[in-house]
């Protein structure tokens, strides 16, 4: 009797303890995010205005706005995604559907992606500078910055998309094959729509990483803060602008805070928008329940 009671107490306390730790962890994660957000709002909200969003920076960023920098950031991001997405998703389809993980090609590709994922961004920057800027003659430009970012995004995009495709049950593949559908048709009409949420998650991770990137862009897209005239113009990314304001420009704290706030808001908007887009697309292509 005594033993049973002791057991009961132990279970009770163990359950409580686990519960407390779980809630504590959740609270801490939320607290970090809120703290950053509140700090940014406090330091930067007063500085944000319509003018700040559309004007070009003056006096090394102390005055004026971040209009030209936003344009450069978006252009760099678009170049990176346009270059990386088709390549990454095709590679993922190849790895998940056509090549076995134990084959030579599969092993080589997986290994190179792992290595690529572990390379620090400053190394990507140096590579981009040597290859895109100098060897291909693109100079310090949005194009070479975007292409360098594309190289950085490849491992994230490929591995998430591959995992998403692999998670689709094999029964769909056999059912499609048994109906005489080609592998390509099954891929486009069934597997990709089913895997769409994972593809989107990878895309969002990639966008987050691209927008936050500083080091790789320092050597490739440069830091001219004027409005870019073309993709071959140099353009300063938002993250780089924040770095420059806070490290090199005395009195640049307020615009740095405001820029960081804009960066976070931009990421949030992109995430919500992309999620919505993918959900709509999936709803149109598949009906789950």
């Amino acid at each position: 009797m005594l033993k049973i009671n002791a057991m009961r107490w132990r279970h009770f306390y163990l359950d409580r303890l686990v519960q407390i730790f779980v809630y504590l962890a959740v609270f801490l994660v939320c607290a970090v995010f809120l703290w950053i957000l509140i700090d940014l709002l406090r330091g930067g909200f007063a500085h944000i205005s319509w003018g700040f969003l559309i004007e070009s920076p003056r006096d090394a960023g102390r005055a004026g706005g971040i209009g030209s920098i936003l344009v450069s950031t978006v252009l760099i991001l678009l170049v990176a995604l346009a270059a990386a997405l088709p390549l990454a998703w095709t590679a993922a389809a190849l790895l998940a559907e056509y090549v076995s993980t134990t084959s030579k090609l599969g092993i080589v590709v997986h290994y190179s992606l792992q290595v690529l994922a572990g390379v620090p961004s400053i190394v990507f920057g140096l590579f981009g500078n040597a290859f895109f800027s100098i060897y291909l003659g693109l100079g310090f430009s949005i194009l070479s910055g975007g292409l360098t970012l594309a190289c950085m995004l490849l491992p994230i995009l490929v591995s998430t998309a591959e995992a998403g495709l692999r998670a689709v049950p094999d029964s769909y593949r056999s059912a499609a094959a048994a109906l005489g559908m080609s592998r390509a048709a099954a891929l486009f009409h069934l597997l990709l729509p089913i895997a769409a949420p994972t593809l989107a998650a990878g895309l969002l991770l990639g966008i987050g990483r691209a927008v936050a990137e500083t080091a790789a862009l320092l050597f490739t897209s440069g830091y001219a803060d004027r409005m870019p005239g073309s993709l071959l113009d140099s353009g300063r990314a938002l993250a780089l602008h924040i770095f420059d304001l806070s490290m090199n420009v005395p009195g640049g704290d307020a615009p740095a805070y405001a820029s960081a706030l804009v960066l976070v808001a931009m990421l949030l908007c992109i995430n919500i928008f992309a999620m919505k887009l993918v959900q709509d697309w999936q709803r149109r292509r598949t009906i789950l329940e």
């Binding site: 059912a175 094959a177 048994a178 109906l179 005489g180 069934l190 329940e289």
Partner: protein, 287 residues
């Protein structure tokens, strides 16, 4: 009996059926068997594990042939070798010859897409695509060159009527196929296979994932397909095999490889089996 005389619906089930697709095949059901699938010395290996060893078997036109035997004796492997679904398994090696309608399915000139159109398959777990009911039909039909919407709709309606699902789903063709019940999903899969107008239907334990009532409905449906389609069905339910099959093939594992022990008319296999193993399995003494 005159082999060229078409069998009427009554001759098969005795009841009025609403079939609109799939004309009855010529020839009496099982009095004068004509083989449509000829399997000679079929051996099948996954890597170095032998699943089937030298199976020789003829499947007769218009009949239901049941494959029985314990798990792991190669029944499903045998089934998926017939429509070359084994091609999807990377380390699967096939020896021997399978001819469907007299044509070697592994010959270089044979087209696997055409073969799978001729030889439909229904799986153990219902596998409707996570799309609308309508699109479950239009996707494979489009793949086989049927692109006119009116034609697709007509075919879908016909096969859904054939499997007795039309009245249950006609007002919600654009809703999710996954929202149907298990039995309905399986009948949808049978209808989807029928939509391509196959000659042969392979069924891999089509009732084992269903509750007894849904299972009964699907079983009746399979019975009614007799004569229109040549059916090869894997089942662990001996009573079911006995009820619906014309022929039965008994597989057993010998020396770690699946082998065909006995093949014959269902009646013979169940009542007067010639092989001891068969008798033991049928009576429940082994297996």
């Amino acid at each position: 009996m005159n082999p060229n005389k078409p069998i009427t619906t009554q001759a098969i089930s005795g009841e009025e059926s609403g079939f609109t697709l799939g004309p009855l095949q010529m020839g009496p059901v099982c009095c004068d068997p004509q083989s449509v699938i000829q399997v000679e010395n079929l051996s099948l290996r996954y890597g170095d594990k032998t699943a089937l060893d030298k199976v020789t078997l003829d499947i007769y036109r218009g009949c239901i042939t049941a494959l029985i035997g314990p798990s792991g004796c190669g029944k499903t492997s045998f089934l998926s070798a017939i429509n070359r679904l084994t091609d999807l398994i990377p380390n699967c090696v096939i020896g021997g010859r399978i001819r469907v309608d007299g044509q070697d399915i592994h010959a270089t000139e044979s087209n696997v897409q055409a073969l799978r159109r001729k030889v439909g398959m229904v799986f153990q777990k219902p596998t409707p695509f996570p799309l609308s009911i309508r699109r479950n039909f239009s996707l494979p039909l489009r793949e086989h060159g049927v692109t006119r919407r009116s034609e697709i709709d007509a075919i879908s309606e016909q096969v859904l009527r054939d499997v007795g699902l039309w009245d249950e789903v006609c007002d919600r063709l654009d809703t999710a196929a996954l929202s149907l019940s298990g039995g309905q999903q399986q009948r949808l899969c049978i209808a989807r296979a029928l939509a391509l107008n196959p000659q042969i239907l392979l069924m891999d334990e089509p009732c084992s994932a269903l509750d007894p009532i849904a299972s009964g409905v699907v079983e009746d449906l399979i019975s009614r397909l007799r004569g229109r389609y040549t059916i090869v069905i894997v089942t662990h339910n001996l009573a079911q095999a006995r009820r619906i099959a014309n022929y039965a093939a008994f597989f057993w594992v010998k020396e770690r490889a699946g082998q065909l022990v006995e093949f014959g008319q269902c009646r013979h296999i169940f009542e007067t089996p010639t092989h001891q193993l068969t008798a033991a399995y049928i009576s429940g003494a082994r297996g």
